[in-house]
Amino acid sequence: MSGAEDATTRTPPAADAATPRPRWQVILVRPETVTFLFLIVATIGASWLSPFFADVRYILESFTFYFEFAIVALILTMVIISGEIDLSAASMMALSASLFGVAYQAGLGIPGAMAVSLLSGVLMGAFNGFLVINMKLPSIIVTIGTLTLFRGLAQVIAGDKSIGKFPAWFIGIDYRFVFDVPIPVIVFLIVSLILGIFLGTSAIGRQIYQIGTSPIAARHAGIRVNRIKYGLFIAMGLVSSIAGLLAASRLASVRYDLATGGELQMVLIVMLGGTYIFGGRGTILGTFLAAWLLVVIATGMTVANIPINAQLTVLGLLLIVSIIATNAIHVRTQR
C-alpha cells in the first residue's frame, strides 16, 4: 500500500560490489544441511534410547509405514515451492483407496479398480486445481474444505467397514524385497531421484521455483503459471491415489479412515526438509532426508516404548520449530 513495501530500491553503485558469501558458508546454512545434521543426531539419540533401534532391517521395515506419506510429500514439496499447498492429500488417499475397494468388490478386478482409483485421484487433483486456479481461492483454505469433503465422501461410499480380500499377489508390497531392501524403500529412492533431477535440472523445475518466487513476474516472463500449477495439483491427486493403492496393498484392506491426519505428517516432512512455507525455496533432497528423519524419530520413540503422548508433543513442536528455523535461514540468506 504505502511506500513501506516499495522494493524498487535504488542502490548507490558501491553497494553493487558486495561480495557473495563464500561457497562453504552457502552450503552450511542450507536447510537441508540442518536436516541432515538432525538426522544424524536423531539416529544417535534413538540408538541410545533403545538397544533395539540400530538395526537396518528394522529401520527399513519401519520406513514402509511412512512410505505413502513420504512419497506424497515429495510432490507436496513441489506444490509448496510453487507457492501453493495441498492439505487434502491424506483424504484423497482415503477416497481413492475406498473407491478402489468398492470397485473391486463390485467385480471390476484389480486392474479395473486401480484405473478407477487413479482416475479419481486425477479428478480430485483437478478439482482442487480448478478451485485454486480458476476460482482464484487460496489453496490452503480450499484444501481444508476438500480435506473434509473427500474424507466425507469416502465415508459415504465405503461406510466404516473394512474392504479387503484382495488377491494375494496384490497385498504385502511392504514385504517384498529386492536384495533385502523392501520394495517401497527402493521405489522411494527412485522416485526421489527422478523428482530431484526433474526439479533441480529441468526447465519446468526451474519454472516451479520461479512461480513460487513471484507468480506475477513468472507470468510476465512467459511461464505458463496456471498450466504448471494445474499439473502440480493433478500430480498431487494422482500420487495420492497411488499412495492409497500402496497402502491398500500394505494393509490388505481399505477403510475410509485410511491415513487420517496424514496431511500433518506430510506437511511436517516437507517443513523438516527445509522447504520455505512461502514458496520459491526447497529441495527434494531436503524432503528425502526429512522423511528418514521422521521415520527415525517416530520409530526410535516407538521402539523405546515412549508413550504416544510424548511423541505427539515432539512432532507438533518439531513442526513449529522447523518452520521457524527454515524461515529464519531463508530470511537471512535473502540478503
Binding site: M1, T9, T11, T201, A203, S214, A217, H220, A221
Partner: protein, 513 residues
Amino acid sequence: METATTSSAGETVISARGISKQFAGIEVLRDVDLDFRAGEIHALVGENGAGKSTFAKILSGVHRPTRGTLALRGELVEVPNPLTAQRLGITLIHQEPVSFPDLSVAENLVLGRDQGSVLGRVPWAKITRDARESMDQLGINIKVNVPMRGLSIADQQMVEIARALASDSRLIIMDEPTAPLTPIEVETLFKIVRRLRDEGRTIIFISHRLEEVRALCDRITVFRDGNLVHTGDVAAVDDEEIIRLMIGRSLKEYIHKRRTEIGEVALEVKDLCLPGLFSDISFEVRKGEIVGLAGLVGAGRTDVARAIFGITPAHSGTIAVNGKDIGVAEPTEAIALGLAFVPEDRAAAGIFQSLSVEHNITAAVPGRIAPRGFIRHALERALANEAVQKMRIRLASLRQPIGELSGGNQQKSILARWLLTDPSVLIMDEPTRGIDVGVKSEFYDMIGELAESGRAILLISSELPELLALCDRILVMSEGRLTADLSRAEATQENVMREAVPKSGVHSPTVAA
C-alpha cells in the same frame, strides 16, 4: 544549498535538521535541513525516487530517520509513529490512497484519529454526520455508509483528503494528491488548500506538475537523489531552472540523435477494447521505429500494453505481429511471436527478487538453456555472461540474488532477459522509473540501439521530455482512448498535454514531469 531570501508568512512551525534515511544500508535521504512556516503552501518537487515521499513519511512518523532531528515550534520532538504525528497535528495524505476497503467511507474518515480509549464506544451517529459534513464541504458526492471497496481511486483520494482536512492538523502533507483527480476536483482541492493556508495552517504539496506548483504554492524545495538542492520562493525560479535542479543537468543533453531506416509494420493493433479500461485502440509500430505512448496517470496505457502481451487479454480487437494476425491469450504465446514486455512494476512483475541474476536473465528462454528439457548450466552461464557484458550490468556475481542489485541494474537485467528472446517488438512501460540519472542515459542509448537493429519499440512513459527526446512518433491516450498520433515534428509538450487531458472536464494543460 540556496536558501530563501523572502518570506511570505509567519513563524517556523516545523524544522528538520540533518534528516537522513537509509533503507537496508542505502541512503535515500542525506542531511536534509528544511523549515516550514505557518500559513504557507510549500511545494516539494524532484524526480521519481528523489526521496520526497520518504521525507514526508519521516515527518509523519511512518518512517524514523536514521539521523537528524525534528523540532515543532522550536521544541525537539520524537515522531515514532503516525499516531504521535496525529497528536502533534501532522497529517500525511499518502501518495497511494491508504484505505480499508471493507469499512465504510465514514469509518475510513475517522480511523486513526486519536480518540482516546480503544474500549471506548464508537459514536456511529456522530461519525456518519461528520462524514456527510466533510463530503459536503469538499463538494463531492460520495455516500458515506458504503464500503470503501466500491470507490474509484479518485474518490478514495478525495476521502483521504477529506480525512486530513477533518483532522484539524496544523501541518498537512499531500503526496501527489492530484495525480488521479479530474480538473474540476483539482480546482476544488486548490480552493480548499488555499483556505487552509489562510487559516494559518501549513501545507506541504508534493507534485510532478509544475503548473500546479506555480498555481498554488508559495515556496518550493527541490530534491535530487536524496539531497535537498534548492529552497526558495516559487516566483524566484522559472520552470527551466526547476527542471535543471531536479535532473542535475539541462534537458538538451537527453536528446538522442540518431537516424534509422523505418521499415515495414511490425506491430499492428486494431480496435482493441477492454470494457471499463480502454476502447477502440488502433495503431501500428514499424520496424526500427520508436513510438511513444503518453498520457496522464490512469489513462490506460499500461492496460493496453498488458492486453497486447496477453496478461489481461482484450475483449475484442485484433493484434498482428509482422503481418500475422494473432489472438494472444497468454504471454507465452506473445513471446513466441516475437513480443517482449518490460513491465511498469519492476519489483512485482519484473524480477524474481530472491533468485540469482543468472536465473532472472534466462527466465524467458527455457528452450535455449534447456534444449532437451534439462538445463545445461554451461550454456546458461555463457548466455547470462554475455548479456551481462553487453548490457554492462554491474554485479558481484551471477549467483547474487537480483534483489541486491540497484534498480537500474535490475532493469538492465530484465532488458537482457528480453534480448535473449530476440524480440521483433519491444514494449517498455516506464522503463526508467526509479532509475538514477546515469543509468537513465545509458538506457536511452540502448533504446536507440535497439531501434537501429530493426526492432519496433513501443515506449510508455510519464516523463514527457523523455518521450519527446527519443520517439519518432508519440501516441497520446486519455481516459482509455487514443486521442492523438503526433509525428516528431508535431510533438511538443503543449500538443501532447492538450490531448492527454481528460475532455470531460475543463483543465489547463499541466506538465507531467
